[in-house]
Symmetry: C2
Subunit: 155 residues, 2 copies
DNA sequence: TTGAATGGTTCATTTTTTGAAGTATATGGC
DNA sequence: GCCATATACTTCAAAAAATGAACCATTCAA
C-alpha cells in the first residue's frame, strides 16, 4: 500500500499551496451563502466583483478563464438583471466596455465587504499576519497584472 | 457614469483578496498546460493532488465543493484510468477510501512539484517573501482543517 | 485599398453538475 | 437484540455551464 507522499524539498511546498486552494474553496463556499437580492452563479459573482471599473469583455474573459462566448452569455444575464450595461469602447469600436449600474455597484460593495469579513474569519489570522499577507497578496496581484493575466482557454 | 469603487476601510481590502483570486486563476491556467500522459479535467487534477493519503469520498466532496455523486463520477474515471482504487474503510463499511495507485502517486508528485515551481514563477516573490507567505498559508490551512472544511453544496 | 487579425456574438454540441431515489451500513433508544 | 433514523455512497435522468465553429464589424498593416 502506498504511503503518504513525502514533501518535496522546494521552498514553497505543496502544503502551503494547498492552504491557498483551501482558502479559495472555503471562500467560494461561504460566499455562496451571502444573501443577495438577485441570485448569481459563482462566475457571475466573480465578474461583478471584477467590475470595479469598466472593463472590456475580452479582458474579463482572460481574467476569469472563460471563453468570449461564455462572457457574452454572462454579460447578457447580468445585463438582464439590471446589474451592468454595455458601452462601445471609444478607442476600439469593435469592443464593449462593461460597466456596473448603480444597483450593480451597490451589490458589488456589499459582496466585497462581506468577502473581506469572511476572509478574516476563515483565515483566523492576527492583525499583524493579515497585514503581512495582504502586502504579499497585493504584490502578487500587481505581478500577475503586469507579467501576464491568465491566457484563458484557447479556441 | 459610475466611478471606480473606493476601497473599504477594512484591514484586508478587496484588492488583496483579488490577488489571491488572480493567483488561483493563473495557477489553474498554467496547471492546464502541465503535460501529463493521461489527460485530466481540472477537478480531477485537484482530486489527485488531494490524495496524498487515502481519503474518504465524502471528505473529498466537501473539500472540493462537489456533491457525492460528482465525486463518484470522478473516482470512476480516475479508477478507469488506473490512477486510484477504492477500498472499504475498515472503520465504516459504508464508506470507501480512495487511494492512489503507484502510477497515481507518480503523477501526483510530478504535478505537485511543477505546481510549486509555477507558484514561484507566477508570484515573483523573493525567497524571503515566499517564506513568509508559505508560513501564513500553512497557518490558514490548519485553521481551515480544524475549524471547518467547506460544507460543500447542500442537497 | 485590401487582406489578415481582433473583439464580440450566435447557437448547436459536449461536458459537468445536480438532485431525487435507491442500497448498504451504522447508530441510538428501547 | 430490534427498530427507526441517519449516514456513505451510487445511479441515472434532467439541468446548467462551457466549448468551439461560423459569423459580423472594426481595426491594422502592407
Amino acid at each position: 500500500m502506498p504511503t503518504p507522499d513525502t514533501p518535496t524539498k522546494s521552498v514553497f511546498d505543496i502544503h502551503a499551496l494547498e492552504g491557498i486552494y483551501l482558502l479559495y474553496w472555503k471562500m467560494e463556499d461561504c460566499t455562496e451563502a451571502i444573501d443577495i437580492p438577485i441570485p448569481l452563479s459563482k462566475k457571475e459573482r466573480h465578474m461583478l466583483v471584477c467590475l470595479d471599473q469598466p472593463r472590456r469583455m475580452g479582458d474579463l474573459a482572460r481574467e476569469l478563464l472563460a471563453l468570449p462566448s461564455t462572457v457574452t452569455a454572462m454579460a447578457d444575464t447580468l445585463e438582464a438583471k439590471g446589474l451592468l450595461f454595455r458601452e462601445r469602447d471609444p478607442n476600439d469600436r469593435r469592443a464593449w466596455l462593461l460597466s456596473l449600474t448603480e444597483q450593480g455597484h451597490d451589490m458589488r460593495k456589499v459582496m466585497a465587504s462581506k468577502a473581506s469579513d469572511l476572509f478574516r474569519d476563515i483565515s483566523g489570522l492576527s492583525d499583524d499576519e493579515l497585514d503581512q499577507f495582504a502586502k504579499i497578496a497585493l504584490k502578487i496581484r500587481s505581478r500577475i497584472m503586469e507579467t501576464g493575466m491568465p491566457k484563458g482557454p484557447q479556441t
